[in-house]
Symmetry: C2
Subunit: 507 residues, 2 copies
């Protein structure tokens, strides 16, 4: 009998059996052996809804008749050129020659002159001289002349000294945020104040770095301004628990809110940061997408405070501002270029920022060149100036029009209220979802606004971001929708589906 048992299973355990075959499962085999912080991280802008949208898109490409629409509208993401926004001619002419400098051999031929204006050639020659080739690694901090131009741009914009050494070119906002947050957040005793609602990059990075996200709320009824009282209260409560709050993130103009912070509000936040020893990240990627109000940078206000209140330690408030070529009127998302400009960072910390940039090697060189084009556009009198200005203005005007149109459209949607954005690329309407829909969502264990977005996607092809992915107060529901998509047909589809859903689920 013993013998038989040994024949059937000569091993004492499954584990031993597996080893006998010289096999042990690796860490990828089970979710429990993966980095739990990755599991925890959430990035709703491209979440499960986008995956479903891509599936539907593929079905549509195969001529599926399963859907009452012909195309997916990716209104979940601020990706202007996906919606047919044309790139700026000057930019692409420069990049085109930088990619294939042999074109310059023809610089004296009539066809060349008829296509490429003189200032395109001049800019190309300057940038090629500085980089050698767009195929060579640049300095990790970024091409020196581009950093110099960024510093000059900021100096002019803010009337505030800025040195090229304070500038780090990046592959877009994400890398800049990642580097700064890596340096500040290394475990659960370290916290960051994050806005709610929020473009979810910052929360996702906090999860990855195992830090403590401390929510502060933007007040919808107060034009999405910071709720200062709640902000301070949230800070104090979390600090009392022993969390070292290292960082405060602002998104200005707001994503998803589209709200510009006022100078007063920025000053109040800077005072608080100085008193509490908070490093500030100000994500200012939408600084050129403004339709109402004015954009004021954190840097400008900090500079003014330094001037106005000397010897008050304003020069010790560390500030990192983020900008990108993906937004504004360029919309060059796929080219991956941006920068951070820093203020009041001690040299020892700058060395560490540089080390992290160095481990990433360098941002895409063509992305870096786009930064140069962003901060040094053609000037009046230069051959490309006219077309450039025309294109920039048209994009700006079109976006403003689409914003207005979509905003007006929300008024025709049942149980929807919406703050009119000052800028950025999104509306963030609040939807008072019927209880029946909320119950149904609870039953299938998803967020009510996610269920709503699913229903809209299935019926209209319009892909939204549920407010739950960006944070919101309890029992409130929002969706983020970009107003980049052109035309009104999809808007009508959206309104109709929305109103139908509201009726179907009516309590």
């Amino acid at each position: 009998m013993v013998w038989v048992v040994e024949m059937v299973c000569p091993f004492q355990s499954i584990h031993e059996m597996m080893n006998s075959n010289n096999y042990r499962p690796n860490a990828f085999a089970h979710i429990s052996t993966l980095n739990q912080q990755v599991i925890k991280a959430n990035y709703a802008v491209r979440g499960p809804l986008t995956v479903l949208a891509e599936k539907i898109q593929n079905d549509l490409l195969e001529d599926s008749n399963d859907y009452p629409f012909g195309d997916i509208i990716y209104a979940n993401i601020g990706n202007p050129q996906q919606f047919g926004q044309l790139p700026i001619t000057f930019n692409r002419q420069v990049l085109s020659i930088c990619q294939y400098p042999a074109l310059l051999d023809h610089a004296n031929e009539p066809w060349f002159k008829s296509i490429f204006p003189r200032d395109v050639v001049e800019r190309t020659e300057l940038l090629l001289k500085e980089t050698g080739s767009v195929g060579a690694y640049s300095a990790s901090q970024g091409i020196p002349i581009v950093r110099k131009h960024v510093a000059e741009f900021i100096q002019e914009r803010d009337n505030c000294a800025c040195h090229p050494d304070d500038i780090y070119l990046t592959s877009g906002a994400t890398q800049g945020a990642r580097i700064i947050m890596t340096l500040l957040i290394s475990g659960p005793s370290e916290g960051a104040m994050l806005p709610i609602p929020q473009y979810p990059l910052y929360g996702a990075l906090m999860d990855l770095f195992h830090g403590k996200s401390v929510s502060y709320y933007l007040s919808e009824k107060d034009d999405w301004n910071v709720d200062v009282k709640q902000f301070k209260q949230a800070y104090e409560e979390e600090s009392k628990k022993g969390t070292n709050i290292r960082l405060c993130v602002f998104i200005n103009p707001g994503n998803p809110t589209g709200a510009c912070m006022t100078e007063e509000s920025i000053e109040e936040m800077l005072r608080f940061a100085k008193a509490k020893g908070l490093v500030i990240i100000s994500d200012e990627v939408y600084q050129n997408n403004i339709f109402r109000k004015e954009f004021t940078s954190f840097r400008k206000v900090l500079c003014e405070l330094e001037r106005r209140e000397p010897n008050s330690n304003w020069d010790k408030v560390s500030l990192i501002c983020i900008n990108s070529v993906s937004k504004g009127q360029f919309g060059e998302c796929g080219q991956r270029g941006g920068y951070i400009d820093t203020m009041n960072i001690p040299p020892i910390t700058k060395d560490q920022i540089l080390k992290l940039a160095t481990i990433d090697i360098c941002p895409p060189v063509t992305g870096q060149l786009l930064v140069d084009l962003l901060v040094r556009p053609p000037r009046e009198g230069e051959p490309s100036y006219g077309l450039y200005s025309q294109e920039i203005e048209k994009i700006h005007r079109d976006m403003e029009k689409q914003c207005q149109f979509l905003y007006e459209a929300t008024k025709r949607m049942k149980f929807v209220t919406c703050q009119k954005p000052h800028g950025a690329m999104y509306l963030h309407p609040k939807i008072c979802l019927p209880k029946k829909l909320v119950r149904e969502a609870n039953e299938i264990n998803i967020e009510p606004d996610e269920l709503y977005c699913l229903r809209i996607l299935e019926r209209t092809g319009v892909c939204l971001v549920p407010g739950s992915g960006l944070g919101q107060r309890e029992n409130e529901y929002h969706v983020r929708i970009t107003f980049l998509a052109k035309g009104d047909e999809y808007v009508e589809r959206f309104i109709e589906a929305h109103n139908t859903i509201m009726d179907e689920y009516e309590d």
Copy 2:
């Protein structure tokens, strides 16, 4: 008396005094409040020597006469186009039009036809159709058609099934390594087997993620093969301490060693990985830089094992192979493009890889297009085939020649021995440094080979990577030098300075 004290310092502590001014230092103010893992991380390829080299370069640009040379040779980094290597014409023609598609409006004009061959136009049209615009975000995993082409390329190279879903396009090797290691390593109880000497990215990432690096040695006298006995011993010793070793990294062909792993060696490592449950990263970015021996991919060997030994759990060995457009004959470092191809990754883990890729948004689209060009070069009979082949072959031949030349040169250097590399872009000679130099280095608290590299830099302008930054056995000293720089003048300078230094420090 009490009153006087209160006048002098009305605060109980400096801390209180600072607060009184509504100021508290932030985390950037002191090294102790920065992420200590960042402080610990080391990335020697672009370390303090490079910073000094850049300073000297700036001095030289300002016509300094302080140096007995006119130019810095950045032999510390594999950056071919910095050394004047020309990009492949076909690639840049495609990218040039992709940046400025309006050029296609002229496709029927004679000048256009004389510059851009037909297959350039066809490829451009295909890629633009798939991407819309290089300025639009792509899918986070990468442009579907490029992933399809990568899968086909691998299938053909390795005679092994490969699915587009197994491919993740990246912004180069670094991002791929970072994503995989983020998922596996979350704290000091988790380890990775890393080669010594090693391109220091992997060690730097382990430091950042607070993991435990477990060194295994490549045996210099055995043509830099893995020292299998020591490998297994190191694994067992660390495991006994309770470390969960999750991962093993191979660099094949080696950086800095230039050695190709044999099929037998790969098989032995795969068996070990299967038995111990190790995920494998194989960094194969130099797969096209081979002068002697053949390159064999880990994927090919794993596929063969699956075929040869069915039902032996080979299909559960998770493998990630890394490739890049920065190396090979393209040398398009600044364009930031690459991919990882994965094998045997469970869906639940793939979801997490995709999530991490999603947080990074997407790799540069032009970098992704370069991956397409890498895996689908012009074919025989196509108009660009002739020039393309010629250019690729010339780059390959030139590199081989320079390798041979520099290798021969090491024979004229005192106390230097060097393994002849099979490929890659580096020599990694061993230098028997004089005791006097070692003592001097100890006194000023730097590594002896770092002092040696400093001396070489000051005297010749040649910037090297000290072996201590890449790992080496105790009391051994190496330097890594790329053989990408053209000409022999700098080599003679280097040899002469080396021999002089050896004489000066003679014991």
